[in-house]
């Protein structure tokens, strides 16, 4: 019957595909927005000295900003800069104040002279305040990333400049000249790599995170269709007719579970194939489906059964189709939210991190992460799969018990 239900099939297969593509594209573009795309930046450099020039050079050479210094061919003023950023024409506005080089140079001179004369270090005489204006519509996570990048460039420029100024002052006072040859920056090097349980060539990316996350979401959305189907059969008398046929209730229940399990597996397979073969054509990173296919099958099976068990229970307990549809959809969205589908669990408050452990979507998601981004094998996913299977058994058991109770006691 499912094959004839074109709208139902579209809901079960096309919508999850669209969801996975859209969410991956969105998150991928957010990633690129910070690291690869050119963020429109309006720069007002009022400093005519070398500090202003160095800052301008750092920002331009960073490669992540599309630097503008004028509006309609006219040099920008501070007022125009604030207005343009406030209107959203530019994401960032930076204003380097006048006399910035002179003031910094003055401070360095005082510092070096004091050090050579054995005096106490004098306080900073003139601070240089570089104003950064941000589009108010900017998301806080993006703002944090952007500010972190800007601070990095600012600190680098400042330290380079101060370092050079100190050398110049020292050389001016000392008979033995020094150079920065042996004091080059970056003596402490950071090597960054993802910790993985197996040797892997590929690093985690938006695809590795989004395909399993939204596949879990899609698998659990089958609860709406399943619970609705159970209620429809109950309402139109088909269930009564089936109950009066010479087959046990378990046969009815497990044939339903088998059909929906098949749908879940097909749905998941379609999303995996989409990630592996179609994503590269959409400009997205291809999915690396891991090395242990048994682990993948185990996680997919346990997650699908958890979703089906939940759908069967809702279908048995809910009184009307509307009740089941609303409860199933909202509860799945809540479980997705607390399970880390939208926001990673590690950024949640401590209490929510604890709560996330009760979400079946979190169990499945952790299982898929173990395979896709941590390079784990079937033993890595065993705890999550076992909990999901237990959840399926509990939900199905409760549905059978409730069905029996309804028949006998009412």
């Amino acid at each position: 019957m499912l094959v004839r239900d074109k709208a139902g099939l579209a809901m079960m297969f096309l919508l999850p595909v669209l969801l996975v593509i859209i969410m991956t594209c969105l998150q991928d573009s957010t990633f690129h927005a910070v690291h690869e795309n050119h963020i429109p930046l309006l720069l007002l450099n009022r400093d005519t000295g070398s500090l202003g020039v160095a800052m301008e050079k750092q920002i331009t050479q960073s490669g992540i900003f599309d630097v503008h210094k004028s509006i309609n061919g006219q040099p920008v003023t501070e007022e125009q800069l604030v207005t343009a950023v406030a209107k959203g024409d530019y994401l960032v506005g930076i204003m380097v104040p006048e006399q910035a080089t002179v003031n910094i140079r003055k401070n360095v001179k005082r510092y070096v002279a004091g050090a050579f004369n054995g005096k106490a270090l004098p306080p900073v005489a003139d601070e240089v305040q570089v104003a950064i204006y941000l589009d108010p519509a900017i998301k806080s996570s993006f703002r944090t990333t952007l500010m972190s990048s800007l601070r990095e460039y600012a600190v680098r420029t400042e330290s380079d400049f101060i370092f050079n100024e100190i050398i110049a002052e020292v050389n001016h006072l000392s008979p033995i000249p020094i150079t920065d040859v042996h004091l080059a920056r970056n003596q402490v090097l950071f090597t960054e790599q993802y910790a993985s349980l197996k040797e892997r060539d590929k690093i985690p990316n938006s695809t590795q995170h989004n395909v399993p996350a939204w596949s879990m979401f899609a698998i659990f959305f089958i609860t709406i269709s399943l619970s609705g189907n159970i209620i429809k059969e109950r309402d139109d008398g088909s269930y009564t007719r089936l109950r009066l046929m010479p087959c046990p209730y378990s046969f009815y229940l497990f044939s339903k579970i088998a059909v929906y399990f098949g749908v879940c597996v097909l749905q998941f397979t379609a999303l995996m194939l989409l990630g592996v073969f179609v994503f590269p054509y959409l400009g997205l990173p291809p999915l690396d489906a891991g090395v242990d296919y048994f682990a993948l099958i185990l996680t997919c099976t346990s997650s699908a059964l958890a979703a089906i068990g939940y759908g069967v229970l809702i279908g048995k307990v809910a009184v009307t189709h509307q009740q089941a549809a609303i409860f199933a959809s909202i509860s799945v969205v809540i479980m997705a939210a607390i399970g880390g589908i939208w926001i990673p669990v590690f950024v949640m408050p401590h209490i929510m991190q604890l709560v996330s452990h009760i979400s079946p979507l979190n169990w499945g998601l952790e299982g898929f992460y173990a395979i896709f981004v941590r390079g784990g094998n079937w033993t890595s996913v065993l705890p999550e799969s076992a909990v999901s299977l237990l959840f399926f058994a509990l939900c199905t058991g409760a549905a059978i018990w409730y069905n029996k109770r309804k028949r006998i006691d009412l």
Binding site: R4, D236, T240, L244, C247, R407
Partner: protein
């Protein structure tokens, strides 16, 4: 020959209700009869049929169907009965043939036996030409006929029918009633509920009026009408026995 159904002092009270839905009801239905269960809304007809089919439990009393006791021997009883609900209990996106194939398969019919039985019944009910059409494109009368066929594919000994002709045209009603008579001639006991008194009078060899969970009167319709002074039809008798007060 023992009765098809024996009910002794049956009591059923729904949870939360003060008065019982079935109140010490006793009834015996002979094999091979067309038995009409008649009564106003809320009289207890559906509850009684659900209990007889094993879909509801009961609090007190005894129910035997062809010598098998409920609820203990429900499994055996299920092989003897057919049930045609008032609702169209079929899958609208499947064809008539596919629907019947599914239900026949669950009844244990297979291969040519099932195919022949489906074709025989579709022909009997005038649906042979439409068997490859999806049910959602059927008229109300056609759906009701398929609904009936799904309940008799396995040749049940007892057939329970809940308002089998509700909302159908005269032609469909005629085909349904004729087929029921034919099944009865072949030995099927038919238990039938309806609000159409004229139809019940014409079809049933035996009727029982049920009101407030008890049997008010039972017997052969013609004899019951004759015995009640001033009555010329089953409907008049029904109104005299159950009153004219609205039941909701």
């Amino acid at each position: 020959m023992y009765p098809a159904i024996t009910i002794k002092r049956l009591v059923k009270t729904y949870r939360g209700n003060a008065s019982p839905a079935i109140d010490r009801l006793s009834l015996s239905i002979a094999q091979g009869t067309v038995f009409g269960l008649l009564g106003p809304n809320g009289a207890g007809k559906t509850t009684l049929i659900n209990i007889l089919c094993g879909l509801r439990s009961f609090d007190e009393g005894e129910v035997n169907i062809y010598g098998y006791a409920l609820p203990r021997q429900w499994k055996e009883i299920k092989t003897l009965i057919g049930f045609v609900p008032q609702e169209i209990a079929l899958y609208p996106l499947l064809t008539a043939y596919e629907n019947l194939k599914i239900f026949g398969g669950i009844f244990g019919l297979r291969g040519a036996v099932l195919d022949n039985r489906i074709n025989e019944l579709l022909s009997q009910f005038g649906l042979e030409q439409s068997k490859r059409r999806t049910l959602q494109n059927f008229s109300g009368g056609m759906k009701r006929r398929v609904n009936l066929i799904a309940g008799i594919l396995h040749r049940p000994k007892i057939l329970f029918l809940d308002e089998p002709t509700a909302g159908v045209d005269v032609q469909s009603k005629n085909v349904i009633l004729e087929s029921l008579r034919e099944m009865n001639r072949q030995g099927t006991t038919i238990i039938y509920t309806s609000h159409y008194m004229e139809e019940a009078e014409a079809l049933c060899s035996h009727v029982a009026f049920i009101d407030e969970g008890s049997v008010v009167c039972e017997g052969n319709p013609a004899e019951m009408i004759k015995q009640q002074p001033g009555c010329t039809s089953l409907e008049m008798l029904y109104l005299q026995l159950t009153g004219k007060k609205l039941r909701d």
